[in-house]
């Protein structure tokens, strides 16, 4: 089935890299206090998903372009998300003079 020389990078290593990156991003999103850093951590998790998509577009037994195109869509959605998120952050900062997660507890009960 596998013609030609085997691809030198093992599939498991790429997936392990993405998994560790995802966990680092998750930890950052759960513990960091600054809103910008929480957004950055979410971007890290999206990046980990992108690595998986690109890896499977190359390293599956039926390679195709679909993974790369999906990752392009993910990058676009991430850009839109970060633009709206930072605009919200600016609006919050103007209203409350803070950019920390712990100060945004108006709806807490």
């Amino acid at each position: 089935m596998a013609g030609g020389a085997p691809f030198p990078i093992p599939t498991g290593s790429v997936l392990a890299l993405a998994a560790i990156l995802f966990c680092i991003g998750l930890y950052g999103a759960l513990t960091k206090r600054n809103l910008i850093i929480v957004l950055v951590s979410i971007e890290l998790m999206l990046n980990a998903a992108n690595i998986n998509l690109v890896a499977f577009s190359k390293l599956s037994d039926k390679p195709s372009l679909n993974g790369q195109i999906f990752s392009l869509f993910t990058i676009t959605v991430a850009a839109a998300e970060i633009a709206v998120g930072l605009a919200l952050l600016l609006a919050i900062f103007r209203l409350r003079k803070t950019s920390e997660v712990k100060d945004l507890d108006v709806h807490k009960w």
Binding site: I24, E43, N47, I75, A79, V84, L88, A91
Partner: protein, 171 residues
């Protein structure tokens, strides 16, 4: 050990190092710089996996636009903000334990799954260069999702402008 494999491990080390640095820095602006390193490293991984167009788009959008946007946001808000050092409170410890457990679980699953041998004889680009092949697929097979994404982008752009503009009643 072949060249691409060594390159892969070096780049992975750089990515994970930058990500851990991002978690350990105290100043928010240094964190945004460290995240730029992670994005560039991911672009290098994409190039290594033969996805040239996605790699260059990653550099343009993430390392170029998003990191600079973060810098702008940090400068416009509280640019001397610092994170407190790690405290042993319940939330931090629970988050760390949960993330480590999730990571170990995923790594064990990856290790125990028999991955198929990659078929290197197939040219995913179908004889064209990578950007040409992606353009063909985007405008033929994925034309409707492409248009929807452009709609999403314009909505996000207008929404961001409306959210961030000054309003009279704020003052």
């Amino acid at each position: 050990m072949s060249g691409p494999l060594i390159a892969f491990y070096v780049i992975s080390l750089c990515i994970l190092g930058c990500a851990v640095l991002m978690l350990s820095f105290r100043k928010v602006i240094y964190m945004a710089l460290a995240i730029g390193g992670v994005f560039v490293g991911c672009a290098a991984i994409y190039l290594l996996l033969g996805a040239e167009f996605v790699g260059v788009a990653q550099i343009l959008i993430y390392a170029g636009a998003i990191t600079i946007l973060m810098m702008f946001a940090i400068m416009l808000t509280n640019h001397e903000a610092t994170e407190p050092p790690f405290q042993w409170n319940a939330r931090n410890v629970a988050s760390a334990v949960g993330c480590i457990l999730l990571g170990i679980l995923i790594l064990l699953v990856i290790r125990s799954t028999p991955w198929p041998q990659p078929d290197t004889s197939v040219d995913v680009n179908g004889g064209n260069s990578n950007p040409v092949a992606i353009g063909m697929a985007l405008f033929k097979q994925y034309a409707i999702p492409f248009e929807l994404v452009s709609l999403l982008l314009i909505v996000a752009l207008v929404g961001a402008v409306i959210l961030a503009q000054h309003r009279k009643e704020d003052e």
